[in-house]
Symmetry: C2
Subunit: 206 residues, 2 copies
DNA sequence: ATCCGCATCAATCGTTTGGTTGATCTTTGT
DNA sequence: ACAAAGATCAACCAAACGATTGATGCGGAT
């Protein structure tokens, strides 16, 4: 029995590549291509694919994680397999939390992708080998959950803004900014702002 | 007359995609695929393609800029067309300086790629529209050239290291680190370390 | 032979930052 | 109704930071 697949990627070249790879497998059938999350939802609702192969970065519009969450709310819900270039921890965990069935890096060989699709269709969780460890570690010591406000501050921090600028931008006092920063540093285990930026980037928080 | 092309990308899927796209054009002929810079040089020396279509990020091994420089030293030298996901200024300029004939983003439509290849083969410079402006701006106010040592400091800075740590790591005194930082800030137009990190990332310096 | 850029170091000074403690108010969940 | 968590603000202090000035030695360019 063939597995039906919907491709979601904002790069036409990548879509062509996936289609070429998957067309060579007779157990997999590509039933559609979407360039955006919105388009993916429309097509998925229409074609009911077994698996949606989805990039995390989708240019403009909703991102891969939101798309995943929305796809999983469909009935019947397709398995969602994330296929992307990046392996940033927060994104992986975010995608899994959103209901993704698995996560593969684009570096992998075509056979791995085909294999992953079939395992995803069978309900298995699919993770690139080196990712599995990190995800499990992530479970053991969960990523610090920053509040919305803390993310605001962190984002501005990452642009190099001084506390005064952050305060002005967010319409709060410098004291408040410092307060948020203290919490951010504590949660991230950073001892200064530069390190906080580094950790935040590293884990994909921003 | 057909234009011969060598594909260079570390992602099998992307190579398949490009091949699929280019095979559909009868004026272009793919003569080889390489996953690394080293492989690209070997194949280019052997097949003498008119154009090499090259990703900037090539995983391990030499990067796209180095590959470009080496390719341009071949005789006859192929035109090198950079095709990548990212549009960071320093990389674009670096690629152009290394002798790249043009620079396209992977977001573009397949026809644009085919068109770009043919224009590159004809010796034209090919730049994605929104890039052209930035490159020209880059010419007007050239990117600050940091010294090797400054890059060392900046890299450590970006990991969140304090001056003392940077000093220890580089086996110099803190005074020296501060001295380098002053120059870095001046060159980047940054008023603090966080902003310097931001600018450095933004322009692709690190 | 001279000049200039680079790397190295030193001393000083004012400002910013990060750490701390503690407080009020709102929202959210139970 | 109450507890918990988040957002807001205040005042204080030591350490770190950024700016400035100035100096030495080395290497490459002219």
């Amino acid at each position: 029995m063939t597995t039906t697949v919907l491709l979601v990627d904002d790069h036409p070249v990548v879509r062509s590549g996936l289609r070429a790879v998957l067309d060579s497998a007779d157990t997999v059938q590509v039933v559609g291509e979407a360039a955006t999350g919105e388009e993916a939802l429309t097509l998925a609702a229409h074609f009911h694919p077994d698996v949606v192969l989805c990039d995390l970065r989708l240019g403009s519009g909703i991102d891969g994680i939101e798309t995943t969450a929305a796809l999983r709310n469909l009935d019947p819900a397709p398995a969602v397999l994330i296929l992307t270039t990046f392996d940033r921890d927060a994104e992986i965990l975010g995608a899994i939390e959103a209901g993704a069935t698995g996560y593969l890096l684009k570096e992998v060989a075509p056979e791995t992708i085909i294999d992953g699709i079939q395992r995803a269709a069978a309900g298995e969780t699919v993770l690139a080998p080196d990712l599995a460890t990190r995800v499990l570690n992530g479970m053991r010591s969960p990523l610090p959950k920053l509040t919305d406000r803390e993310i605001d501050v962190l984002s501005l921090l990452a642009t190099g803004a001084a506390n005064k600028e952050i305060a002005r931008t967010l319409f709060v006092t410098e004291a408040t900014v410092k307060s948020h920063l203290v919490h951010i540093f504590a949660k991230l285990g950073a001892e200064n702002r530069s390190r906080a930026i580094h950790i935040a980037r590293d884990t994909g928080l921003i």
